[in-house]
């Protein structure tokens, strides 16, 4: 019962925030709503019993990828006139606050004495979604895909290094005034 109501609340919030990502006029606002969206999606993973995937979702998407997005948006520093006037949106910060708080409450609730069991018949066994079970699957059944993904990521890193590398200019000796120059 509780899981169902939590699921409905989370799913509704996922949809709502996704809509806001698409329809807010200013990119930075959209980015913030997207971060919140990741939190609620993580909440859905928690309801599925996959705590690890939920946390990784926040770590990778909200903590790393969106930081880059936000940076790019902030540094582009678009002219405010292009984006329409800055409407006072105090309620959005309130919603953000409530959202993060409700995520914290969900975490607390999962951890609380009355543990939140995943819906009956939904999960194959009780170990499903734990770090051990996930690692077992990744390093046995899906080891080729796992290793391949690793190699592709490594290639991407090397590629970025190649693109960003500039040949250092040959050093011309420079002397400060107070140093003795070789005669």
């Amino acid at each position: 019962m509780l899981q169902q109501s939590l699921f409905i609340i989370m799913a509704a919030l996922v949809l709502l925030t996704a809509g806001l990502v698409a329809f807010r006029p200013r990119p930075i606002e959209s980015a913030m709503w997207l971060i919140l969206n990741f939190f609620f999606t993580a909440g859905l993973y928690v309801l599925l019993g996959s705590h690890f995937v939920a946390v990784i979702q926040i770590l990778v998407y909200a903590g790393a990828i969106m930081v880059l997005f936000v940076f790019v948006i902030l540094l582009l520093n678009l002219d405010p006139k292009e984006l329409g006037d800055e409407t006072s949106l105090h309620w959005s910060s309130v919603v953000m606050f409530v959202g993060m708080l409700s995520f914290l409450l969900l975490i607390l609730h999962v951890a609380g004495p009355q543990t939140l069991e995943p819906m009956e018949g939904l999960l194959p066994d009780s170990k499903f979604g734990s770090v051990e079970a996930l690692a077992q699957k990744l390093l046995t059944d899906y080891v080729w895909g796992f290793e391949l993904a690793g190699v592709i990521l490594l290639l991407a890193i090397v590629g970025v290094g190649m693109l960003a590398y500039r040949k250092p200019k040959p050093k011309t000796p420079k002397f400060l005034d107070h140093q003795e120059r070789p005669v």
């Binding site: 770590l59 930081v67 936000v70 606050f97």
Partner: protein
């Protein structure tokens, strides 16, 4: 009627649950942060051969309280050219991750509180079995607060400070994460409680000394503390990203910094210094302490260790000068990350040979 209700195991469990939330969050925000601010100023005085705050209350202990009241009652100045929503959002976003990360720190082994509880329960606000990854995830969120604060203030110093802080936090997160990998390998778990309990025989600091050497500078940089306090570098940037903040909004940034310090100190002790164990090869059981009756001794010992570590933070701040920004980046990327990668190799080799023997 009342007695049966009070002795109802469900009620006791819930009361314990609510009690530990109130107690631990109260401790973090109401005691640790104000006392640490006082300690910081007094130790600064000690190291620089002056007094520090010593007028309000005994030894100046109430100075933080007075400052807190001042910050609460101060006029809420709001510069005209800011971006209002994000200006307001930034301090909130700095406190919430601090609280969320603090919530998964365990403060002692599972206990029945000397027979008060029907089953042993954890002294931890949220019992998460992926606590370590969760802490990493949440601490990576505090970048938003700083980036938004600098950008929304619409001030050159703020933007520079926030850019520095964000780049620094992203870089050192990698080093910290890689150092933690070897802790996971050594302890064989990502549950903070299990990591602490795996160290009853030997603390992780001995096989994982290199990891500690990487982790320590990384957490100093993550919390933006000297010698990595370039985001605030008052000689260059006024105070960086919170230049335009006043009153309780500034107070929230300040509070978050000290709660984060407490969290990373606790993490460091859990990862490397055996959590609440007594001494490296001497667990509480070995010296004959009955943890069923004296359940509070490990917790008090854990708090003592945290206090020692926090003192170390302050000591470093008033002793070491600040790095240059290019030095900071080359330490992070060219020294710490390679060492951490090498250390993963060393740790796995060590574990393979240890298993074989």
């Amino acid at each position: 009627m009342v007695e049966t209700f009070l002795s109802n195991p469900d009620f006791i469990k819930w009361a314990f649950f609510a009690g530990k939330i109130l107690l631990l969050f109260g401790l973090a925000f109401g005691v640790v942060a104000p006392v640490m601010i006082w300690v910081e100023r007094r130790v600064a005085g000690l190291i620089q051969d002056r007094y520090g705050p010593n007028r309000v209350g005994p030894f100046g202990l109430l100075q933080s309280l007075a400052d807190g009241i001042k910050l609460l009652l101060k006029e809420d100045l709001r510069p005209t050219e800011i971006r209002p929503v994000f200006y307001l959002l930034a301090p909130i976003l700095s406190v919430i991750p601090a609280a969320m990360a603090f919530a998964v720190i365990p403060f002692g082994p599972p206990t029945t509180l000397g027979g008060l509880l029907p089953t042993p329960m954890r002294l931890q606000i949220a019992e998460l079995n992926v606590g370590l990854v969760y802490v990493l995830a949440i601490s990576s969120l505090s970048v938003y607060a700083i980036a938004l604060a600098g950008w929304a203030s619409n001030n050159k110093f703020s933007v520079l400070g926030s850019l520095r802080a964000s780049a620094q936090m992203i870089s050192y997160e990698l080093a910290a994460g890689l150092a933690i990998v070897s802790v996971i390998l050594l302890s064989g778990s990502v549950d903070l409680m299990a990591i602490a309990q795996s160290q009853t025989e030997m603390w992780n600091i001995f096989p994982g000394f290199l990891a500690f050497l990487v982790f320590l500078p990384a957490i100093f940089a993550e919390t933006n503390r000297t010698p990595f306090d370039l985001p605030e570098a008052e000689a260059e940037l006024v105070v960086g990203y919170h230049t335009e903040y006043s009153g309780i909004k500034f107070g929230l940034f300040f509070l978050a910094e000290y709660v984060n310090m407490a969290t990373v100190s606790a993490l460091c002790i859990l990862f490397f210094f055996g959590g609440w164990e007594f001494l490296p090869w001497l667990s509480w059981e070995k010296i004959g302490v009955d943890l069923n009756t004296f359940w509070f001794i490990p917790t008090i010992w854990f708090f003592t260790k945290i206090a020692a570590f926090l003192f170390f933070f302050v000591w470093v701040r008033w002793t070491l000068p600040r790095f240059r920004y290019d030095q900071l980046m080359s330490i992070g990327w060219k020294t710490l990350i390679p060492i951490a990668l090498l250390n993963i190799l060393i740790t796995t080799t060590y574990l393979v040979f240890e298993k074989a023997s």
